[in-house]
Amino acid sequence: MSIDMPVIDFHTHLGSWGRFGVDGDPDRFVEIMDHAGIDAACINCIFYGDARRANDLVAEFVSRRPDRFIPVAFVTPHYPDEALRELDRAFDHLGMKYLKIYPDYFRKPNDDPAYFPIYEWLNERGLAVMAHATYSFDKPGVTPYDRFTALSERFPNVKWVLAHAGGWGPDKAIEAARDLPNVYLETCGSLAARGAIENSVRTAGADRVLFGTDMALLDARHQIGKIITADIPHDDKRKILGLNAIKLLDLEV
């Protein structure tokens, strides 16, 4: 049985990252998407301290293949005044669909107050933001459940997408998606823990799981293989592979 609907990759990156051999070659990007059966990829650029430069690169890249890529914004809390102006520009002028932040490299967990003006901006518009759920520099005892409970109470209109949390992530992230109305689990990761997709669907529900690949770092074929070979119903695979992203981002298909 075939999927017969658009397959949306929720999590990809533009740019090169020599440490891991990521070259950011757009032709290779599309070639692998074709091999994997992915129609469109949400793409961000997180490799710059200058968010404006990153977002311009994304916008230019997407303009060359608007049929295959969906632009995603990036801002940094290190420059709060710039961040709010850049949010206006990225969403209102560049057509970005959601926000990606990278607390790991900012060295600030995503419940640091430095992000609150950014979240307030998103909250007013009911937009989504994606970030990792936990960090190496978290204080002992911090869980994604507590973190996102507090964030979603403070910013109830924000849709919180927990990167890497649907494929192998900490259990408390899955429980957060089960109990909180605006929390979603994204599936990419270098591990393919047995039963992780099934557990995410069983615990949080298929409506809360979003397929992502982490291209151009991780191979899209392995990532989509985790969903296709999971022991879950076809209708759940359809939700994870595209329907949920279309709904969350209000995409025109």
Binding site: M1, S2, I3, D4, M5, P6, V7, R19, F20, G21, V22, R28, I32, H35, A36, G37, I38, D39, S190, L191, A192, A193, R194, G195, A196, M215, A216, L217, L218, D219, A220, R221, H222, Q223, I224, G225, K226, I228, T229, A230, D231, H234, K237, R238, L241, G242
Partner: protein, 259 residues
């Protein structure tokens, strides 16, 4: 509009070159028995698997290897792989155990077992492996009790470049290791490459370009990983049928002397 198939079965006979069977005591594994592994193999369309015992890696290789044999002895689908610890095991005793049980491959974990993969530790063991024509799997790392114990690729290069009579498999290289793993196997014609954790973009194609399809092996790292995703990826790399067959089973069979 994608016409992606929602189900997958491998199109060629498949031998998983990296499975473990048995419990760990530092965490719960999702499947800990031979029957459980067989059920997953059936679901994934995998007919055979090379399996080792986690207890043999973590604590006592001799005892763990015996536990493995209790679980798989006489089976045609689960091919036992013994863990060896050259720093503490008795070579003659291990060799006798391997021969008695008809074991066709071994696994060494220098990082975990705290020795350098250098001739002044492993040479007698390499002599035995060469004479017995038994290949050795070398996982890039092993995690235990929250710590990660890594293989030193410099030791592997220096030692195996002088021992072309020893056949080895670099196993579980991951995206962090991409910068050195393929140069290493490219530099050592006696070192093959197992794919279970090599999920960096284009990694399978890069491995094939580096060393040819005849030296690349499919493995899953089950039960820590699901069996099927990397097998699915292999089937979507544009490989011809001969190369796919080689990577999915033929190369491992040849290494084990099964073909």
């Amino acid at each position: 509009m994608s016409s992606l198939a929602l189900d997958f079965r491998p199109s060629v006979p498949t031998l998983d070159a990296n499975v473990s069977i048995g419990r760990r005591h530092d965490r719960v594994v999702s499947v800990d028995s031979a029957d459980g592994a067989r059920a997953e193999m059936e679901r994934a369309g995998i007919s055979r698997a090379i399996a080792y015992a986690p207890h043999a890696a973590a604590y006592d290789s001799g005892e763990g290897n015996a536990m493995l044999m209790d679980a798989v002895r006489g089976s045609h689908d689960l091919l036992p792989q013994f863990v060896c610890n050259p720093a503490s095991d008795d070579l003659a005793k291990t060799a006798a155990h391997v021969e008695a049980e008809g074991v066709r491959s071994v696994r060494m974990l220098p990082g975990l077992h705290n020795y350098p993969f250098r001739p002044w530790v492993v040479e007698p063991w390499l002599d035995w492996l060469a004479d017995a024509r038994i290949p050795v799997w070398l996982p890039v790392e092993y995690d235990l009790l929250g710590a990660v114990y890594s293989l030193d690729p410099r030791d592997v290069y220096d030692t195996l470049s002088e021992r072309q009579d020893v056949r080895a498999v670099l196993s579980e290289a991951k995206y962090h290791d991409a910068s050195w793993a393929l140069p290493l196997v490219r530099s050592l014609p006696n070192l093959d490459f197992e794919l279970s954790r090599f999920v960096v973009t284009g990694g399978i194609t890069s491995a094939i370009e580096a060393i040819g399809p005849e030296r690349v092996l499919f493995g899953s790292r089950f039960p820590d990983s699901a069996m099927s995703p990397q097998l699915y990826s292999l089937h979507h790399c544009g490989l011809d049928d001969d190369d796919l067959r080689a990577i999915c089973a033929d190369n491992a069979e040849r290494l084990l002397g099964l073909s």
